[in-house]
Amino acid sequence: MTLSLPALHPRTVLGFGRHDLRLLFNLTNMALRDRFLGSAVGRVWALLNPLLLLLIFSFVFSFVFKSRLPGADNSLSFIIWLISGYGPWLAISEGLSTSASSIIGNSGLVKNLSFKCELLPMAASLLGLVPLGVSFLLLAVLLALGGHAPTAAWLIIPLVLVLQFTLITGLGLFLGAINVFVRDVTQILPNLLVVLLFASPIFYSVDAFPEGLQFWVQLNPFYLVSNGYRVPLMYGVLPPLWQLALLTAIALAMQVGGLAYFRRLKGYFDARL
């Protein structure tokens, strides 16, 4: 009796194989280059832009509005608090804007190259890593200045990072697909993001909301993300576990839902690209 080998299936995760991972890396590089290709300062602007934004917001809120953390008279701790919430927001904003336009901006590739074009919005959302990296660097400097030592709670930060990018990727897939058919998305999105930014407790604490609303506000996934960074960095403890669980649920739902939605729609892209 001869033994027969089972049929070899290529390893796939969520419909992606190893080849797609390499392609994702290449597409992310491409997206990064294309984003800053036309600027005279070149790729330095990718680092300079978030840095300038972080500094200007810190200046305005801390010194002009004189916001302080409740109970503290220290502007440094407020700035750390601000950046640890706003830095991730820059990543979200950058990721969502680029992924929304990723399909129509690469229509040549989509029409001519045989590949899984889900990878385009996913690669675009990964661009958010750049402003996130800049804010982490700035935070590292400020935390050192403020004499904050790393605590065990900081170990949760990589998890929050993964959850954040799962969320952005999922949303990016929705936006990227819809934008092919409703080009207004890229027009509306910047305004929408500004509204969301100020509606979420990023520049101010949750306590600013009336008691009744506070619970509902905390369900905002963008708040959950920034809180996920903020609490360990500021207070050295883990963020509330229910928040992490909720964020995981929302991020996974967005990722799976976004992939499914995108894959349903991508068969019709050629009608609009």
Binding site: L113, G267, R272
Partner: protein, 391 residues
């Protein structure tokens, strides 16, 4: 033919493939986003079935809008068939649109690097591949300047060089062999011929029938997304060109069995007996040409005789065609005979009454036997020698 082993799998195959595009009207967007199907469809391709053996090129002829580009993208995997199957035996090198993934602000080198990062280098070293691209495109220092500084010809050369530098196995070409000036076109054709000699297979979609004749063994005609004809390239081209069928009135008799070639030894006399039956009271002229078909080059006229009067009036005529000491070297050649009438002797125009030629799908074959020699002819040279007077 090198590389076309009938027992091997076909290089490219389509089996009852269909492609449907959804047409989105203004109201359909909302339907689509809420996961309902749009109603209006456009049937781009229907019932496409054909096979391309390994080592051969296949031509797809058709007018603009017939579906050639759609078919090519279907074969290359950029589109999926809505019904039926499409198969390519290995990675395809698809040249649908030049400059895909490009951005004007990239330099030529950066574009090439980006291209190879997406398509792969098939194991070759990136540096070597880039060197070949620079050499072939002859861009020199422009290779490191942004593409927006190039002329359109230079950009075309860059894109073509990048797309064809890797010795691919299967080429899918969409009308792009006409890139650049004459010199560069010649280079491009030479490159495609050498790929062909290396055993490449491919599909060429074009409305340029000379390209199909030069490169392809078989071809098909696409019209409105359907195959209207499929077969040997010369016959298909003739049909595509809708060459006028002979008008009749007189005809060759007894030349319909074309499976037996006329055999002759090199430098021997070629004698062909023709019988012509005529119903018209006009002088009859016969034109003769002997051609050879060389892959990658096309039909070459070798020997031609302008129409010559051989008889006149109604009835049956027996004619002997004699080529004394035919100078052709060993090989297989195409013989074309045209029976023409010149209605007005003052006007240099002919009506073709009957023909046996490739362009009418009925070419005759001349098989010349003899020692293998280079070249097509033996040069009939006479030498003479005289003593030169001493100076």
């Amino acid at each position: 033919m090198p590389g076309s082993d009938p027992e091997r799998r076909p290089a490219v195959m389509a089996r009852r493939a269909h492609k449907v595009f959804y047409v989105l009207g203004p109201g359909d967007t909302l339907r689509l986003l809420t996961m309902r199907r749009p109603t209006e469809v456009f049937q781009a391709l229907s019932e496409i079935s054909f096979e391309v053996p390994q080592g051969e090129f296949f031509g797809v002829l058709g007018r603009n809008g017939a579906g050639k580009s759609t078919l090519l993208r279907l074969l290359g995997g950029a589109y999926s068939p809505t019904r039926g199957q499409v198969y390519a035996d290995g990675p395809t090198s698809a040249i649908y649109e030049l400059g895909v993934g490009g951005n004007d602000r990239l330099t030529g080198r950066e574009f090439a690097i980006r291209w190879f990062s997406l398509y792969g280098t098939a194991g070759a070293k990136l540096e070597d591949v880039l060197d070949e691209v620079v050499q072939f495109s002859e861009l020199g220092e422009y290779f490191d300047r942004p593409i927006f500084t190039y002329s359109s010809g230079m950009a075309g050369r860059l894109y073509f060089a990048v797309a064809t530098v890797l010795p691919g196995q299967i080429y899918l070409i969409d009308e792009v062999l006409a890139v650049g000036d004459e010199y560069f076109q010649h280079k491009s054709w030479r490159r495609m011929r050498s790929r062909l000699a290396e055993g490449a297979s491919g599909v060429l979609a074009t409305h340029d029938f000379t390209a199909v004749l030069k490169l392809c063994d078989k071809a098909l005609i696409l019209d409105g997304g359907r195959i209207t004809a499929q077969g040997a390239a010369p016959a298909i081209v003739r049909r595509y060109l809708e060459l006028e069928p002979p008008t009749g009135g007189a005809s060759f008799i007894g030349l319909d069995d074309r499976s037996v070639p006329f055999a002759v030894q090199t430098e021997q006399d070629l004698a062909i007996e023709l019988v012509v039956e005529s119903d018209v009271d006009l002088p009859l002229l016969i034109g003769v040409s002997i051609e050879t078909f060389q892959r990658g080059i096309g039909w070459e006229h070798l020997l031609q005789l302008d129409p010559t009067v051989i008889g006149s009036g109604k009835g049956r005529h027996r004619i002997e065609l004699l080529v004394p000491r035919i100078p052709l070297n060993a090989g297989e050649y195409s013989l074309n005979l045209f029976l023409v009438a010149q209605p007005d002797p003052a006007v240099f125009s002919y009506n073709v009454l009957d023909a046996r030629s490739w362009s009418h799908g009925s070419g005759l074959t001349v098989l010349v036997t003899g020692p293998e020699r280079d070249g097509l002819f033996r040069l009939p040279v006479c030498w003479s020698h005289a003593e030169a007077a001493a100076v």
